[in-house]
């Protein structure tokens, strides 16, 4: 500690090391949050169901999404990334997951919401397996932190079924 520059260096290094430790503890504190999120999705209607070239089924649908994800937020949460995926089984694949819609929730106040929307991304199958298919709509969320570990989880909503026949709309 024999010169000004030396002391300044020690202070800067020590301050940054302590800051890193604070961030580790802050991230660890997220483990003490036990959230209770809830969500509901209703399919308003199927807008279209076609077999497109080169032979893959494509669905277009409108859905109502209601959710209360406020309990997922902690003091260390930067934002919530959520998406809805359609999940189903085919002879070719044991699990197909197709992302239909996603959103970023920047603050706790916006985490309780209702939205009616068409699927943002195309619901396309590998093949033509979707007629009369039963599928789940799963709401996934990624809790993106200000610092440290990101937590991800999901809520499975089952009981959806596609129409038996192809149709224009």
């Amino acid at each position: 500690m024999h010169s000004f520059v030396y002391r300044a260096n020690v202070l800067l290094t020590l301050a940054l090391t302590i800051l890193a430790l604070m961030c580790v503890i802050a991230s660890f504190s997220d483990n003490f949050n036990f959230p209770s999120p809830s969500a509901e999705i209703q399919i308003v209607k199927f807008n279209g169901f076609q077999k497109k070239p080169p032979g893959n089924d494509e669905v277009s649908l409108t859905m109502n999404i209601t959710a209360d994800l406020q309990s997922l937020f902690t003091w260390n949460t930067k934002q919530l990334f959520i998406f809805v995926a359609a999940e189903y089984e085919t002879p070719q694949n044991s699990l197909n997951q197709v992302s239909l819609w996603d959103a970023i929730i920047p603050a706790k106040e916006h985490a309780k919401f209702w939205i009616q929307t068409k699927n943002k991304y195309r619901f396309v199958d590998q093949g033509s397996n979707l007629r009369g298919k039963e599928f789940n709509l799963t709401l996934h969320w990624h809790i993106m932190p200000k610092t440290g570990k990101m937590f991800a989880d999901k809520l499975v909503l089952s009981g959806f079924r596609l129409p038996e026949e192809h149709r224009r709309g």
């Binding site: 500690m1 000004f4 002391r7 020690v10 202070l11 020590l14 302590i18 604070m22 260390n76």
Partner: protein, 119 residues
């Protein structure tokens, strides 16, 4: 204007006390004190910042309190304040050193008359 430093007495020719805060060396007791205060202050501010941020649920609060604490600590412990120089070292006056020259090793074969050990 160049700074003339006496290597033995560690005195600078510039009379500015403000300048001394940045350039003058700190005595040993002061250095120990500065190190201690630096560590204590930073840790105390870190704990207070974390506790306040966690309780109020505001990450921003934690960062602001800690940043303020770092600035405060740097103002207290980095410049060479007078209270860090309360135990200055008493160096031997050069004229005294000349009166008592360093003894030469006796085992050397040649018994040369001792020369003054002036550097």
């Amino acid at each position: 204007m160049s700074l003339i430093q006496d290597p033995i007495l560690f005195q600078t020719s510039s009379p500015s006390r403000f300048r001394d805060l940045f350039t003058s060396p700190m005595d040993w007791q002061g250095q120990k004190l500065a190190e201690l205060w630096m560590q204590v202050l930073l840790i105390v501010f870190a704990v207070v910042a974390f506790a306040t941020g966690y309780i109020t649920g505001s990450f921003r609060t934690m960062m602001l309190i800690y940043a303020g604490g770092v600035v405060f600590t740097s103002l207290v412990t980095v410049p060479n304040w007078p209270f860090f120089n309360r135990h200055p070292l008493k160096w031997l006056d050069p004229s005294e050193a000349e009166k008592h020259p360093k003894p030469q090793p006796a085992a050397v074969a040649s018994k040369d008359k001792k020369k003054s050990s002036k550097k």
